[in-house]
């Protein structure tokens, strides 16, 4: 174990190299640029490749090429760059190529701003590219998780032969926290399906193209089976003080950190609130939310968006109990005080109060 006080963005790079990643292709963008900068510094030293591509479109297609050779590879960007990468992500998913993509979100739409917003949920979690595919999405909320989930993402990407996105906001990317890195690096697995320019892999083909409808249907059914397995095997969440909670508040990324403090304060006031933090945004912890829905009096979803994840919560809850939403947009970060007020207000509504 090696402890360092490190920015979340830089922790991703060190974790990637410890996970056996050997190439990084990317294009600078605030607030994700530290990832490319750290990659430029460390990848060549670690026997890998860093290349600043001409665009995010090129970056993701370089990742496609690197992944096809069987090496662990990654890129990183933020909202506008992620929009450009969606075509490539669709191809990666279609060709079943593993890779890791970090999206350090900022304000949108359009040029928006560089402050931390969570408006990328739809484009990342629902798939912003064309076709029937899914990306597996992890949402770290601390420096330590930037390391741990990055390492996990490479494993999961290889296991499912699918792109995995680490989606977090600029706040988690920019902040420094102590991170315990493992003292040993992982040896990346050898992939028999890769195209490596040698006799063993000469017969291999990497492609997302299936001209005959019945052939493409077979391929898509195969992808669906994979996604069903991911739903069974990969869902992760963190529950905090939900056992006796009347109100369960749901948030991810930086929001979940503020909620934790806010919930601590409302608990001191005698309000039984708890926190559910999805760690995987896809697959979404819907079973856990369903389980909670049977006994809690209400959910409050807090996002730094106009309400995107809340749709998934409502789908999981299925009508009752009520799901309320509180959102800040534009890159404004809700304060602990305003979230305390919001939870208190919800607890004062009669139908919620009755059983608190």
């Amino acid at each position: 174990m090696a402890r360092e006080l490190i920015k979340g963005n830089e922790a991703i790079v060190k974790a990637a190299l410890l996970a056996g990643c050997r190439s990084f292709y990317g294009y600078p963008i605030t607030p994700a640029s530290e990832i490319a900068e750290a990659a430029a510094r460390y990848f060549p030293l670690a026997g890998g490749t860093f290349l600043q591509a001409e665009s995010e479109i090129a970056s993701i297609n370089m990742v496609y090429g690197a992944a096809a050779t069987g090496e662990r590879t990654m890129t990183a960007s933020s909202g506008p760059g992620m929009s450009l990468m969606q075509e490539g992500i669709s191809y990666l998913a279609g060709a079943e190529l593993p890779c890791v993509i970090a999206d350090i979100t900022r304000g949108g739409p359009g040029l928006g701003n560089i402050a931390p917003e969570q408006g990328d949920y739809h484009q990342i979690v629902k798939g912003g590219g064309h076709g029937n595919y899914r990306t597996i999405v992890y949402a770290p909320n601390s420096g330590q998780e930037m390391c741990d989930l990055t390492m996990l993402a490479f494993e999961v990407a290889d296991r499912y032969r699918n792109p995995v996105v680490l989606m977090t906001d600029g706040a988690i990317g920019q902040m420094m926290e102590p991170v315990d890195f493992p003292a040993l690096a992982v040896e990346a697995p050898v992939k028999s399906w890769a195209v490596r320019g040698n006799a063993e892999t000469r017969g291999n083909l990497i492609s997302s193209f299936h001209m005959l409808p019945e052939e493409l249907e077979r391929h898509e059914r195969h992808l669906e089976e994979k996604y069903a397995a991911a739903c069974r095997e990969l869902v992760r969440w963190e529950s905090w003080q939900t056992e006796d909670a009347g109100i369960v508040v749901i948030g991810y990324g930086i929001v979940s950190r503020i909620l934790r403090t806010a919930i601590g304060r409302v608990r001191e006031m005698g309000i039984r609130a708890g926190l559910l933090r999805p760690i995987t945004l896809w697959p979404f912890p819907e079973e856990e939310i369903k389980r909670l829905a049977e006994r809690v009096n209400g959910f409050l979803v807090v996002e730094m968006s106009n309400g995107q994840m809340v749709d998934d919560v409502r789908l999981a809850v299925g009508g009752r109990p009520p799901v309320e939403f509180y959102g800040r947009v534009g890159g404004t970060i809700p304060t602990t005080g305003e979230l305390v007020d919001r939870i208190v207000r919800m607890s004062e509504v009669s139908h919620v109060r009755q059983s608190i």
Binding site: K14, L18, A46, E54, M176, F181, T336
Partner: protein, 478 residues
Amino acid sequence: MYVKAYERPQSLYREFERKAEDRRSTHYCPGCGHGNLHKYIAEAIDELGVQDRTIFISPVGCSVYGYQYFDVGNIQVAHGRAPAVATAMKRALPESLVVSYQGDGDLAAIGGNEIMHAANRGENLTVFFINNAIYGMTGGQMAPTTLLGQKTATTPFGRVLQSEGYPLRVGELLASLEGPSYIERVALYDTASRMKARRAVHKALKNQIEGRGFSLVEVLSPCPTGWGLSPNEACDWVREQLLPVYPLGVLRDQSEHREGWVRRRAIVTPAEIPHVLGLRETAETVTVPNRERISGANLHPRIKIAGFGGQGVLFLGKILAEAGMHEGWHVSWFPSYGPEMRGGTANCHVSLSDQPIGSPIVSDPTLLIALNRPSLERFEAEVVSGGTIIYDCSLIDVAPARPDIDAIALPATTLATDAGNARVANVVALGACLAKMGMLNREAVTHMLDDLSREKGKQEVNGRAFEAGYRFVLDSPG
């Protein structure tokens, strides 16, 4: 006895899966140039003995099925992106032979950026660019290379200069860059031109094997179907119509001067990675924070540090967080970030606690360190009642107005100047902050400062500045 004078190249499959009814012929139209070019590429791969090492990149276009012809490693990619894909494959596998095969829509329109930058980087790749002045697969629409006046599905009245501009001469465009080694334009309209094309194909592949950098062969290729002509008429059309606009010949050749143009990686074992990353093994036993040292019983200081960009605000916060971490506290450091850091105001938030830290954002600081007046005015109201404000009274000519806080007027810049450098006012503030907090070991912090500035002179200035700030608070009444 007989000698086999000709046979199908080894690098082409015996049978093609594309057409179930006829697995011996290609899916290309009669008279199309793709068949010739496929054969020349396969023959060159055979002649060079690199079948196992070759990776063929199938584009989007009529040649999307390249992988059903070439018995090599195969990959199919997005429209226009082959040079980006090829770049990464070649860098991962420097010993492989990576071949990009792209049409004029793919390479010259949608993929214009990718080809330009791959060429400019001088990637050690081979690109075959099939210019038939039309979009074949999608049904005969205009390409960037379509001739003026040429009728296509999307220029039904002919390509018009005022609307669609001139035909794009990709070969000349790329030949103007320093990066590429070899660029030649060839054509497929008669035996002589085909034999020239065959030689160019061979050279472009050989260049890559020998590590001579980026090679591109532009091939003027007949598209009888797209042009609405018979195969023979199409060959004439290449000669009569395309050649005047796209002159044949070598457009650039630096092959002889580009030996050893190979990008190899350093060999680093997994065991060496932590060292490369500068990770140092830390003791598994976690240091227990020394609560006894804290007089005010504030185990959860939330600190906001603010000033002009360049005053060392982020650095000050980082030292606090780092020192806290080494003493076993939970810590977080959160900066203002982006362009505002360069010249405008900068601030950072530092939290220390004996409990895991929830929000790293300090919206209600217990301690504010203000190094300029705008920071004091902006954040004074946020400080909790009973909290502390340390402000640089050598730069700030107002005092905090609130009666419910402890205001420390620290002449940081003056003390820093006395210590030897006005720029270390942040270190003076650090000393003051440590004295006020009382929870961090002062020797540990000064050691950390020494580590960060290796120069003896700077270390001494820092040491004096820190001491001045520290003493100022301890010696202050109250």
